[in-house]
Structure formats: C-alpha cells, structure tokens
Amino acid sequence: MKVLYYPGCSSEHLARDFYLSIEALASFLALELEPLPDWNCCGAREIEEAPEGVGLFLASRNLALASGKELLVTCSLCFHNLKRAQNILRENPIWRSRMAEVLKDEGLELSPDLPRILSLTEFLTRIDFSRFRSPHFRGFPVAVYYGCFLSRPYPTDLQALEKVLSAAGYPVIPTTLKTHCCGGHLPRTDSPVIKNLCRRLLFEARQKNASGLAVACPVCKLNLEIYGDPPFPVRYFTQYLGLALGISPSWLGIPEEE
C-alpha cells in the first residue's frame, strides 16, 4: 500500500539527515512512501505574522492534494500547521468555502473527505521493529523527547517513541521532560533562556544514564545541538531505528567521524 508523506521544506536542508533516515528505513522495510506530489511550504512560524487566510491557504492546498488519503507528516511544525488548518476547515464553513474558491483556480478541489493526518511517530508504531532488528545490534539506553507540537494542542500517541525504540532493542529511559519545550523559534537566539531550556533537557537524559536522546522534530534537534551544552548525542529516532536494523550510518545521515 502506498502512503503519501509531506516532507516539508526542512527536508531539503536543515533536516536532510531526518529525511535520509526516513528514506533508508522505508526502503529497508519495503514501505511505499511517496512524497505528496507538488506539495508546497506550510508557512512555518512566519504565518503567525500574516493574515489567517495565508496560512490556511498554504495548508489547504496540501490538504486538497492529499484528499481522502492518509497523509504522513514528518516535521512537527508542519504537523501542527496542517492539523490546525484542518480543524479550522472542519469547524468554520466560511473559511472552508473561501479556500474551496481560491483553490479552484489551480483546478484543485477541497473534497469533504479531508486527509487523515498522521505523525511519523504514530505511523511507525504499526511496524513491529523486533522482527527486523539486526542480530549484530546491541542496544544502548536512550531517552526520548517529543517536544511541543507532537504533544500539544493536537496530542499524538506519547508512547510511540518508547514503543518503536524498545521493540528495536533500545532500553528506553523514562524522563519527566519529554513533552517540555526546547525554546522553539525564540526570536532572540543569543538568549540565555533557550540555552537553559536545552541544557536542562540534556541534563536530565545524562543524569539518568542515557547514552543518547531520540528526537522527532528538526527544530528541537537543531536547538539541542547548538545550545545544549555540554554536548550530548542527539539523533532523530529514525536514525536510531536504522542503526538497530543494521543500516549503515552514512545512509542515515550520521557523519562518518562519529
């Protein structure tokens, strides 16, 4: 069965490693993941500055392209933006008819059957990773971190990371900060606040003897790598899954020297 997925702009640059590890997992597991044809940017945090219609249009166009299907979303911020728009379209007939009208110009239809939006974390719980684990792989303890947008205000399964990673052979260490905030898009990046938030998250993982932190969001990963000090291994959960399946690190976007 083919599954549509929305890669988002970050897949081309900042989260290239995330994207590579997803593609590697998909080919290893023979999942037919297909990028949503002709997808457009969801507007990231910038839509907060623009009139409501702009963000809704950007999301609606993607929703129209995926009408009636399941749409897998890999980036947490894209997930939030698409989910929020989907809810507004469902609840507000005025916005819905405006979006239907504006999409017509491009020959797109906002069918009543909006796509079912799924986070990558939830999607991967459908797979039993214990069946695919490499016999040579020796799991090491990891902590998991969901960040904000997979937890609030449209909560996903907050045991998903634990489920897949432990099935893959990693002892998962429970933490209390797994749905806390990393500082996200705080505009002042030289701020001590963002540093403290990131340090605190890494501190907990280190304190509890985890050897790494598994994350699911490009912004969280970058923030933790840049502001989290002292440095601590932070990887996308898909990279950890790939390692457990015996996929070579370079295919997973993990630099050689590590």
């Binding site: 640059h13 940017c41 405006r98 205000p153 705080l186 990046t189 938030l197 912004v219 790598e225």
Partner: protein, 257 residues
C-alpha cells in the same frame, strides 16, 4: 503616519551603529522610492527640517545590509516590504468573552518556558485587553511566544491564550506598539515562498547567517551552520508546478479579513 525622526538623527544613529551613509545617498534612496518621503517641519529657530517615520531607520539598515551582500538597488527594492505600515484601528478578538473567565492565577506566566524574555506575562495582556484596547501596553510578549501551548494545557479556566497572543501579533496591536522581529528573514522567507512555492524554515536558522546573492534563476544561497562544515552553499528549494496560480491564490488569501 507618525513622523518621528529628523534626517540628521537618523544619520547620527546609523553612524553610532557603524553604518556609513551620506545625506546625499539618503535623499537618493528617497528619490528611488526605497525610503519613504519626509515631512517638512518649520523649526522654532526659523529653519526647516525633514522628518521621517521611525521605521525608516530599520528599513535603511536592511538596505545597507543587503547592499553589503552585493545586491543591486533594484534587487533590494524588490526584496523590501512593499507595504508601508500605517496605523489601523484596533480589531476585536472574537473570543473576548472567554477571556473574562481568567482568574488571574498567573499559571500561564509561571509555566511559560520563555517568560524571562517577556516584558509582561500573558495574563497581564489579557487583563489589559479586557479593560479596553487602548489600555494595552506595548510589550514584546506576543512575538516572544514560541507557541508551545504549555500555558493552555495548564490554564485552569481554558483561556485561549495562544490564539489571543496570535491575534495581538497579527492585528490587535496598533503599529506603534508592534515589535518587529528579524524583518529581513521574514522578507527572504516570503520572497522564496512566492518565487518557488517552497521556502526555508528561517525561523530556526536566523542565528546562523544566511547569505543570498542574486535573484530568480541566478539566486545563490549560503547557509552557515555551526560545526566543522562552516558556511556552505545550498540549493534553493525546488519549485512547485503552477506558480502563477499559486501566487494569485496567495494574493487573494491576504485580502480576507
């Protein structure tokens, strides 16, 4: 439009921040339409001075920065926000009735991960708004909010805090009380989005320096990431198919209230 600063003050302020620009160049930019026209004001001493809106300063800094990156004045003009801000009457927040349930417990401010960066806690803005839009103080709060929804999750009264802050940021506050964050990145973000239908998540990278040279087909982007890689050239995002329909739709979507 408020006319706050005389030309001399603008040049003085820029010089203090290390920018070099002559009076002549300034007036040339005004002539080209890169900067707004000034307003004549007679002085008590008998002379005449030209006054410019306060945002002229920021705009001029953007121009000088882009020039340093090697852009021509024509390219710069394309990249600057077309709209010149003008004061609009405050709009209403559709969920104002729900805000009245706020019991001023202060949890939203206490739980907020970035509250130390905020001039005022969210609840203070809620209370000020309930007193009337004119009581709203100028505060960076709506722009500092990272949208983590921790406040809403913990608020005992189910106050739509995040929607309210979003409203203040978009339209609730008059331009004089607005706080512009990294306008240059916003501009780059939107121009890429309009040119290609795809962009960058610049919000996440504004700390790492992005250099853009040229425009259209000849555009080159350089990203400086922390770590051993240093600065690297990245390809501009690939384009979606029907860009003209996309742009029309985007234009249209901007006009809805």
């Amino acid at each position: 439009m408020e006319f706050g600063l005389p030309l001399e003050d603008i040049l003085q302020k820029l010089a203090e921040e290390g920018y070099r620009i002559s009076r002549r160049t300034f007036l040339y930019y005004v002539q080209l339409g890169l900067l707004p026209k000034g307003k004549r004001k007679g002085q008590k001493s008998g002379g005449v001075k030209f006054y410019y809106p306060t945002w002229t300063l920021e705009r001029l800094k953007t121009i000088l920065r882009l020039k340093k990156q090697g852009l021509t004045l024509k390219e710069i003009k394309k990249r600057l926000p077309r709209e010149i801000p003008s004061p609009l009457p405050p709009k209403t927040f559709p969920q104002t009735a729900r805000l009245k349930d706020c019991n001023v417990c202060g949890i939203c401010g206490a739980i907020c991960p970035v509250h130390e960066e905020m001039d005022l806690s969210p609840w203070r803005l809620i209370q000020a708004w309930l007193e009337g839009p004119d009581s709203l103080p100028s505060a960076n709060t709506p722009w500092v909010c990272v949208g983590c929804y921790l406040c809403e999750e913990r608020c005992p009264r189910e106050i739509p805090v995040v929607d309210f802050l979003r409203f203040l940021r978009r339209e609730g506050l008059p331009p004089g009380k607005r706080w512009r964050k990294h306008p240059e990145w916003s501009r780059i973000f939107w121009s890429l989005l309009e040119e290609r239908g795809r962009s960058f998540d610049f919000g996440a990278v504004h700390a790492y320096h992005i250099r853009i040279i040229g425009s259209g087909e000849n555009q080159r982007l350089f990203l400086r990431l922390p770590g051993p890689e240093g600065e690297k050239e990245v390809s501009a995002p690939s384009k979606i198919k029907n860009l003209s329909a996309f742009r029309r739709a985007l234009e249209h979507a901007r006009e809805w209230p």
